[in-house]
Symmetry: C2
Subunit: 416 residues, 2 copies
Amino acid sequence: MNIADLQQQAEEMVEWLAAYGADPEGGVTRLLYTSSWIEAQQAMDRKMRAMGLDTYYDDAGNLFGRIASEDPEAGTILTGSHVDTVKCGGKYDGAFGIIAGLLALRYLKETYGPPKRNIEVVSLCEEEGSRFPLTFWGSTNITGTAPTDHIAQIRDSEGIPFVEAMNKAGFGLGHYRSPLRKDILSFIELHIEQGAILEREQTTIGIVEQIVGQKRLTIECSGEANHAGTTPMGWRKDALRGASQMIVAIMEAADRRGAPLVATVGKIEVEPNVSNVIPDKAAFTLDIRHPQGDVLDAFCEEAVAICFAAAQDRGLQVKVNQHLDVRPVGMDASLLRSIETICQAQGLPYRLMPSGAGHDAQIMAAHYPTSLIFVPSHRGISHNPAEYTSKEDLAAGVQVLIRLLYELGYEKETIS
Amino acid sequence: MNIADLQQQAEEMVEWLAAYGADPEGGVTRLLYTSSWIEAQQAMDRKMRAMGLDTYYDDAGNLFGRIASEDPEAGTILTGSHVDTVKCGGKYDGAFGIIAGLLALRYLKETYGPPKRNIEVVSLCEEEGSRFPLTFWGSTNITGTAPTDHIAQIRDSEGIPFVEAMNKAGFGLGHYRSPLRKDILSFIELHIEQGAILEREQTTIGIVEQIVGQKRLTIECSGEANHAGTTPMGWRKDALRGASQMIVAIMEAADRRGAPLVATVGKIEVEPNVSNVIPDKAAFTLDIRHPQGDVLDAFCEEAVAICFAAAQDRGLQVKVNQHLDVRPVGMDASLLRSIETICQAQGLPYRLMPSGAGHDAQIMAAHYPTSLIFVPSHRGISHNPAEYTSKEDLAAGVQVLIRLLYELGYEKETIS
């Protein structure tokens, strides 16, 4: 295989897919079941067929391209990622995993013909949760863990019901085939790192050991609104002062725990939020991530204790709501060793690492042996039009994937 | 004078005026030159005339009720406050100062006949700055300090030009008479405290020594937006963490300075303000007040230094904008002594105090001997439908005003 060709193809396909949902600022917005999403899946379907793959949709809107084994009993090796984006996102997040799979499958089919096991690439319909208040709609449908009880109530920010949007896009129960899959032997996801560790360490491949667990809390402080000029400092019940005290103390506690723990206060809402009134409400989010569940739990408890202590100190009421609790997920150890060996054989600098971001691989991992492979993100920027990965790094990822899919699809006699 | 009658009249007139601009939640919204404002001034005009006062408007929309002296050379003792309110404000802020003046003038005229000096009550057109981005429009026109250069550019939030609104309400240059006044010998303003000091100390009358100086700053922190899961703590440039550190340190510095210094962070805006992205922007307001200019300046410098130190600590850029710098204003010492003597003679518990809020008295004080007298605000609540002052306290304020206006208008031979 000509490396320069692969680099060029990878780069061209990233640009090609980014045209669906492109915005004038250079970003991409491809939200689930919107017209840009439909056009992207349709174009991907044509591209897959042009590359010699058999294609099909499932009822959720996941699109598959397949190289079939001649053995009708054979299971399936699945690779891919999600086609949806955040609002004004980048060109690589999700998209690269699909493109890498497509390039790998074409190469394998052209070079080796039919595999021992079916190999499929999937363009997963949804992962980001950018349009509707649900995430991982693609992978949870495949694994049979989608929250189907709730979708009747779910609407987007314009009030459009989820089910209506799905049906209008041509999907829903009975439109194609059930998304639930029992035949998958392994799932391999390639993804950009969305962090700067690989780039800073001049490493090309990140092999994920665990996807971090994550808790998301909202902490609501209530005090007393009062006139900024006529209320002495000592009489105040200042919700924003209390919240600031909590944020500073939680961040310092996170520093003390050290890597790989991360804690983020990304959002704060203050009422009445005018310059000359002491705030009576300040609500902030806290996002905590760690690859070990016990550390995650312990830090969460510490953070909540900090909030209650600061609230008492400042005469505030505090209410803590936990609205996300995702446990850490380990990737398959045997696949991990195979990828390490491939990187060594190909002379690619690699490292083992946790994934601080959530990925479809964490949903798949509970059901199938799963691996998640990172390529570098320039400056760690993601969910942003400035998202960038060099063509050299893209192609390196595809090379690793080709070799792994070859081993899994063509070479080994059994998949444990 | 029957105290029970005075209490009842004060309370009834507060309710009567509050009907103009009343909203269903019990609040009052009477913005400059709106229909509720026009109706309030017209009703006030009729009420003044029914109470035996001569009335007139000036070009700005200030409404005056007058007891004229028989001496054509006599100067004028002016009392009153502003008729406009904040959005969904209370019944007492501003309104009480006008009502108190009206009740006092009626009593004086009925009891003593024509005074040695003209005595007038003014219903000032505007003080709050709630509709247009300008404040003190009533008192600055009287003192000749209104920002008349800028008003051609000023619009309300609906885009209505200031001048158009003024003309439509029937005011503007040449409609009545110039607002500029050279004949005023003293200005006396009665107002609710808008703080809880008098109530907590079970004191009926607050005699203001100074109206605090005030600085208002905006502090903008800029860092780097990054993924909450993939960016190690040590690599972050978290604008909200930096801002929180600044807020905590500024508040602690304010505590150390102690009363009467107050410092308030009432407003914060964060970008992108989503739970899973490290914020790259956090801008907050800082409102600082103190009755001494040098302390105000020194604390402001200290706060700015805190911000720069915290920004350096967290790798942030910081930009400080000062957009308000009002110097402290002292009230007239001779009037203050007269009011003290009156409180003692009437057996009313009183105290000297600063005003933490701005008032028309601070505009007038640069031009005429001025006094500002407070009555208690229940729980310190103001700019809120829950604003409340008991009829006993209202009447006590009116009694003090009656006696002071009597001394100034009827008794003393000269006003120094």
